[in-house]
C-alpha cells in the first residue's frame, strides 16, 4: 500500500514536475529574452537622465526621435510606433488601469487630443516659448495649449485621374460633386479611415454656415442643422453612385487600375501626392474645391509626467516646431506623412505641394465634432457605405 502510494505520488510529481519545469524554463528563457533587447542595455551609451515614452503613428517618427536622441544625450525617448487606433486603445486601457505609462502622443487629427483634454488626461500649456507659428499653425492651436499642431495636411481635395476624366467637367465646389458622372466619385469609410471623419464633419459644419475655427463653439441648433444638411448631401452623392472603399489604399487603387473603377475621390490629398511622387500614378492629379478640411497632426503630453519629463517633452516639442525639426519630419517620410504643410514660418513644404492658401483649408472645432464621431460614423456605415 505504501509502495503504491509512493509510486502514485512520485508518478504524479513526475508529470506535474515535468510540466512545472517546462513552464519555468519557458518563463526564464522568456524573462531573459525580455531583458535582452531592452533599449537601455547597450553599455556604450551614456545613461539617460530622463526617459520619455512617445506613442506615435507618424511615418517619420522614428527618424525624428533618432535625430532628437542623438542631439540630446540627457534625454532618451522610447518610441511606441503603432496605428492611431491601437495607440488610443492602449492609452485608454492604461488610464483605466490607473497607471498610465504613456508620456506623449503624436498622431494625425485633433479630435483625439481634444478628447484627451476633456478627459483630463493631458497637461495644458505645453507650447514651448519662441515658436514662430505661421497661419496654419496658429489656426490649429487650442487656446489652453493642451496640444500643439506639428504639421497640417488637408482632406477633401479632389484626387482624380487625368485620363479617366478626359472630357469631364470637374466641379469647383463640393456642391458640384453631385453633378459628376454616375459612379465615378469615391471616398473612404470613416469607420476605417482616420482622415475621413474630419472630412465629413467639415462638410457638415460648412453646410451649416459655421465659420472656420478650431476654437469658436457653434450653437447646438447649428450643429444639428449641419448634421442634417451633411446627411442629405451624402445621400445625394450616394444616389449618384458614390463608391465607398475602406481606406486610401483601395480608393487610390480603384483610380490607378486598368480599367479604373473610379475617376475621382475626395480623400486626404497627401496620399495622392505620395502615389504621384512614388511614380505609382503618372496620370494622377489633385484639384482643390471651394474648401478642403484641415487635418493637423498634434502632440499632447500626459498630465502624469514628472517635472523633469515635462521639461524634456517641451524640449522635444520645441525641436519638432523648429525649422530643423520640420525638415527632419519631411526627410523621415518624403513620400508619405512628410507631405505636410509646415506650421512655422520659414520652412517650405515638399516639392510638388501647392501653397497652403490654395487648398482653401477649413478648420473645425475638435471639441465640438470629436464627441459626435461614433454617431456619425455609424450613420455613414448604415446609410452610405456600399
Amino acid at each position: 500500500m505504501t509502495n503504491t502510494t509512493t509510486k502514485r505520488a512520485f508518478g504524479f510529481r513526475s508529470l506535474t514536475g515535468a510540466f512545472g519545469v517546462t513552464v519555468t524554463a519557458v518563463t526564464l528563457v522568456v524573462a531573459t529574452a525580455g531583458a535582452a533587447p531592452a533599449p537601455h542595455s547597450t553599455p556604450k551609451k551614456p545613461v539617460p537622465v530622463v526617459n520619455l515614452s512617445l506613442y506615435s503613428a507618424q511615418g517619420y517618427d522614428s527618424y525624428v526621435v533618432a535625430a532628437f536622441n542623438a542631439a540630446n544625450p540627457s534625454i532618451h525617448i522610447t518610441l511606441n510606433d503603432n496605428s492611431t487606433g491601437t495607440l488610443l486603445t492602449q492609452i485608454a486601457a492604461e488610464q483605466a488601469s490607473g497607471n498610465p505609462t504613456w508620456n506623449m502622443m503624436w498622431a494625425d487629427g485633433a479630435t483625439w487630443a481634444a478628447q484627451f483634454d476633456v478627459s483630463g488626461w493631458t497637461k495644458h500649456g505645453i507650447l514651448p516659448s519662441g515658436v514662430n507659428f505661421n497661419t496654419a499653425g496658429l489656426t490649429n492651436l487650442p487656446s489652453n495649449k493642451s496640444f500643439v499642431p506639428t504639421g497640417v495636411t488637408v482632406t477633401g481635395g479632389l484626387c482624380y485621374d487625368t485620363a479617366a476624366t478626359q472630357g469631364v467637367s470637374l466641379p469647383s465646389t463640393f456642391a458640384g460633386l453631385v453633378n459628376m458622372p454616375n459612379g465615378s466619385l469615391g471616398m473612404n469609410n470613416p469607420s476605417r479611415s482616420g482622415p475621413t471623419y474630419p472630412l465629413i464633419a467639415g462638410e457638415m459644419a460648412h453646410l451649416a454656415g459655421i465659420s472656420s475655427s478650431t476654437t469658436k463653439s457653434p450653437s447646438t441648433a447649428q450643429v444639428t442643422a449641419g448634421i442634417k444638411a451633411g446627411e442629405n448631401f451624402l445621400k445625394a452623392l450616394k444616389a449618384k453612385g458614390l463608391q465607398v472603399h475602406n481606406t486610401n489604399g483601395p480608393t487610390l487603387g480603384a483610380m490607378e487600375s486598368n480599367p479604373a473603377t473610379l475617376s475621382a475621390a475626395t480623400i486626404q490629398t497627401s496620399a495622392c501626392y505620395g502615389d504621384i511622387a512614388a511614380g505609382y500614378w503618372p496620370t494622377g492629379a489633385v484639384k482643390y474645391l471651394d474648401y478642403s478640411v484641415a487635418l493637423p497632426s498634434a502632440i499632447a503630453v500626459s498630465k502624469d509626467v514628472t517635472p523633469a519629463q515635462f521639461a524634456a517633452a517641451k524640449k522635444f516639442i520645441a525641436f519638432v516646431l523648429s525649422p530643423q525639426g520640420q525638415r527632419t519630419m519631411q526627410a523621415g517620410d518624403p513620400q508619405g506623412d512628410g507631405l505636410f504643410w509646415p506650421v512655422i514660418s520659414g520652412v517650405d513644404p515638399e516639392q510638388g505641394l501647392p501653397s497652403y492658401a490654395s487648398t482653401n483649408a477649413y478648420a473645425i472645432n475638435p471639441y465640438v465634432w470629436g464627441p459626435l464621431q461614433d454617431i456619425i460614423d455609424s450613420w455613414f456605415t448604415n446609410n452610405i457605405a456600399n
Partner: protein, 584 residues
C-alpha cells in the same frame, strides 16, 4: 497517526494538480478577461464611468448596430461551423478512406491553408478579384464578384476556408485511429455507402463535434475578416462593433465588455451539445491493436472526376489567392494592372532589406517574431496537452465541464479583448509598482500569445488524446512502469506527431498574430506582423505585400525543417503508429 491515512493520495493529487493548472489559467486568461468584462456592469471599477453598478451598457449593446452585429456573428459562425465540418469530413474521408489521386498532397495544402491568417487571406482574395488586379489582367470582369465578396458571402467563404484545416485535422485524427472493422461490420450487414457512413461517423462524434465547436468559436472571435469585409457593408459583425467600441474616442469599454461576454457565452450551446452527445460513452478507438483499413475503390472514371473536382476546389481556395498575393508583390504599383501596363519589379523585395526611413526594420521584426514563436509554441504545447488530457479524462465531473466551457469560451475571446484585459490587470499600479512590472515587456507578450493560442490548441489535441485507449497505460502500469515512463513509452509515441504539428502550428500562428501583438508589443521591438500591418496602410503597401510573401515562405521553411528533424530523430515506429489508414 499516519498522515497518509488521513489524506487519500488520489484526493491529494487532484487538488494539487488542479490548483496549479487553474492558477496558471487564472493568470493567463481568467483574471485579465474577467477584469475587462467587469466594465460591463461596473464602469467605475475601471475608471471609465461614474457608476459602481449599472445595466445600461447591456441594453446599449443589444440595440441598433451593435445588436445586429451580435445576431450577424451568430448566424455566420453557425453557418461556418456546419459548412467547415461537412467539407472537412468529406475531405478527410476522401483522403483516408478512398483511392483518391494525390491524397497525400491534400494534407500539405491544408497546412498551407492553416498557415494563412484570415487577414492575409482577405488580402489575397482582394488581390485576385478586385477590379484592376490579377483576374482583370486575364480579361475577367470581376466587378460583381468583388462587390459580393465584400459582404456575408465573402465573410462566410473566408471563415469557412480558415476553419477547414482545423476541422480537417481533428476529423482526420479521428478517422486515422478508426480501423475499418466498423465499416466492414456495417457492410457485412448489408449497409450501402451512405448507411455505412451514417453508422461509422457517430463513432468519431467527439472529433466531429470538436470540429464544429472550434470552427464556431474561431469564427465568432475572428476579427480580421470582420474588420476588412464587414466594415464596408450593411453586415456588421460583433467583433467589428466591439473593436469600434474599444477604439472609439473616448473608448466605450462597457459596451465592448458586454459584446465580449456575449461572444463567450455563445460558445456554451455547442459545448453543451457536445457534452450531451458524448456523455457516458467511450470513443477510445486508438490502441495497440488498431488494424489497417481497406480503402473504398472508385471506378477509374469516377476516381479521376472526384480527384479533379477536389483539387479544383482546393486550388481555388488555397493557391489562387496566394498566387495573386505573390504576383502583386512583384509589381511596383498599387494596382496589379495600370493604364501603363503591368510593371514587374523586385524593388519591394530589395526594400525589405534596405527599407525607407519611415518603415521599421522588417529583418529585426522577423527575428523578434521567430523568438516569440519558439517561446509561445513550446509553452502552448505543454499547457494545451495538459488541458486536453484533463478534458479527455473519463473521470471528469463538474470541474471537467467547467474547464471545457472555459476553454471554448476562451477561443471565442477576441485578441483585442485579451490585449486590453492584460493592460487593465497587469498595469494596475498596485501590481506594476509593488509586485512586478510586466506591461510592454517580452514575458507579458509571450503570456498573452500563449493565452491566445492554448485554448484552440487544446481543443485540437482533445481528439487525438481522447482516442488513446486507457488499456495501454494500464498495461504499462501493471507491468511496473511509473507514470512518467508510461507516458513516455505508451502515450508519447502515439502523440508525438500530433504534438509536433501543434508546435509548428502555434509557431506559425504566433508569427502572423496581430491583435495581441499590437496591444502588448515591446516598444522598439515590434513583431513582423505589426510592421507589415503598418506598412500595408501606407504608400509603401507593395513592400508590405512583399514582406507578407517572405513571412509565408519563412513559415513554410520552418515547417519543413521541424518535420524533417522529427523524421530524423524519431524511431520509425513512432511515425507509423496512429496512421494505420494512411498506408496502402
Amino acid at each position: 497517526m499516519n498522515l497518509q491515512k488521513k489524506i487519500p493520495p488520489r484526493a491529494h493529487r487532484i487538488k494539487w494538480s488542479g490548483m496549479v493548472l487553474w492558477l496558471i489559467l487564472g493568470f493567463l486568461v481568467i483574471i485579465p478577461v474577467t477584469v475587462f468584462l467587469f466594465a460591463a456592469v461596473s464602469p467605475r471599477f475601471l475608471r471609465v464611468g461614474p457608476q459602481w453598478f449599472t445595466l445600461h451598457s447591456i441594453g446599449e449593446a443589444f440595440t441598433g448596430y451593435t445588436g445586429r452585429g451580435i445576431m450577424d456573428s451568430l448566424l455566420v459562425s453557425t453557418t461556418v461551423g456546419i459548412l467547415a465540418t461537412s467539407a472537412a469530413t468529406t475531405l478527410a474521408w476522401l483522403v483516408h478512406r478512398t483511392t483518391l489521386y494525390g491524397a497525400r498532397i491534400i494534407g500539405g495544402m491544408m497546412w498551407v491553408l492553416l498557415l494563412i491568417p484570415t487577414w492575409m487571406m482577405t488580402i489575397g482574395w482582394t488581390n485576385l478579384i478586385m477590379p484592376g488586379e490579377l483576374a482583370t489582367a486575364f480579361g475577367l470582369n470581376t466587378v460583381h464578384l468583388y462587390h459580393a465578396f465584400y459582404g456575408p458571402a465573402g465573410i462566410i467563404l473566408i471563415l469557412t476556408t480558415a476553419a477547414l484545416p482545423f476541422c480537417y485535422f481533428v476529423i482526420s485524427a479521428g478517422l486515422r485511429g478508426l480501423g475499418s472493422e466498423f465499416e466492414d461490420a456495417a457492410r457485412v450487414h448489408g449497409a450501402g455507402l451512405r448507411r455505412t457512413l451514417t453508422t461509422v461517423l457517430p463513432i468519431i462524434a467527439p472529433a466531429l463535434l470538436s470540429a464544429f465547436a472550434i470552427a464556431f468559436a474561431e469564427s465568432i472571435s475572428d476579427f480580421g475578416v470582420a474588420f476588412t469585409l464587414g466594415a464596408n457593408t450593411h453586415f456588421p459583425m460583433a467583433t467589428f462593433t466591439l473593436f469600434n467600441a474599444i477604439t472609439a474616442n473616448p473608448a466605450n469599454f462597457s459596451v465592448a465588455a458586454v459584446i465580449a461576454a456575449v461572444l463567450i457565452l455563445c460558445t456554451v450551446p455547442p459545448i453543451m451539445l457536445q457534452s450531451r452527445v458524448t456523455r457516458g460513452r467511450s470513443y477510445a478507438v486508438l490502441g495497440a491493436r488498431t488494424r489497417s483499413v481497406r480503402r473504398y475503390s472508385f471506378t477509374p472514371v469516377r476516381r479521376i472526376v472526384v480527384s479533379v473536382a477536389t483539387f479544383a476546389v482546393l486550388i481555388v481556395l488555397t493557391i489562387l489567392p496566394l498566387v495573386a498575393s505573390i504576383a502583386t508583390s512583384f509589381t511596383r504599383t498599387i494596382s496589379f494592372e495600370t493604364r501603363t501596363g503591368i510593371h514587374w519589379s523586385t524593388l519591394s523585395y530589395h526594400n525589405i532589406f534596405s527599407p525607407p526611413p519611415s518603415i521599421m526594420s522588417l529583418g529585426s521584426g522577423l527575428w523578434m517574431s521567430n523568438q516569440l514563436g519558439v517561446y509561445v509554441a513550446s509553452g502552448t504545447v505543454v499547457l494545451a496537452y495538459v488541458l486536453a488530457r484533463r478534458l479527455a479524462s473519463t473521470r471528469g465531473g463538474a470541474s471537467q465541464r467547467i474547464a471545457d466551457v472555459f476553454l471554448l469560451g476562451s477561443v471565442a475571446v477576441p485578441g483585442v479583448v485579451l490585449g486590453v484585459g492584460y493592460i487593465l490587470f497587469y498595469n494596475q499600479a498596485i501590481i506594476a509598482n509593488h509586485v512586478i512590472s510586466l506591461y510592454q515587456t517580452m514575458p507579458l507578450l509571450v503570456m498573452g500569445l500563449i493565452a491566445s493560442a492554448a485554448p484552440g490548441q487544446s481543443r485540437l489535441l482533445i481528439g487525438p488524446v481522447s482516442q488513446i485507449q486507457s488499456s495501454m497505460a494500464e498495461s504499462a502500469r501493471v507491468h511496473g512502469a511509473g507514470r512518467w515512463r508510461t507516458w513516455r513509452t505508451a502515450s508519447l509515441p502515439l502523440l508525438s506527431r500530433t504534438l509536433t504539428w501543434a508546435w509548428v502550428l502555434t509557431f506559425t500562428k504566433t508569427i502572423s498574430e496581430l491583435a495581441v501583438a499590437q496591444m502588448l508589443l515591446v516598444p522598439g521591438h515590434e513583431p513582423v506582423s505589426v510592421i507589415i500591418e503598418t506598412t500595408l496602410g501606407t504608400v509603401f503597401a507593395p513592400i508590405g505585400s512583399a514582406a507578407t510573401v517572405m513571412v509565408l515562405a519563412e513559415m513554410l521553411g520552418v515547417i519543413i525543417v521541424v518535420l524533417g528533424v522529427y523524421r530524423i530523430v524519431t524511431p520509425k515506429g513512432w511515425r507509423r503508429i496512429g496512421e494505420v489508414g494512411s498506408l496502402r
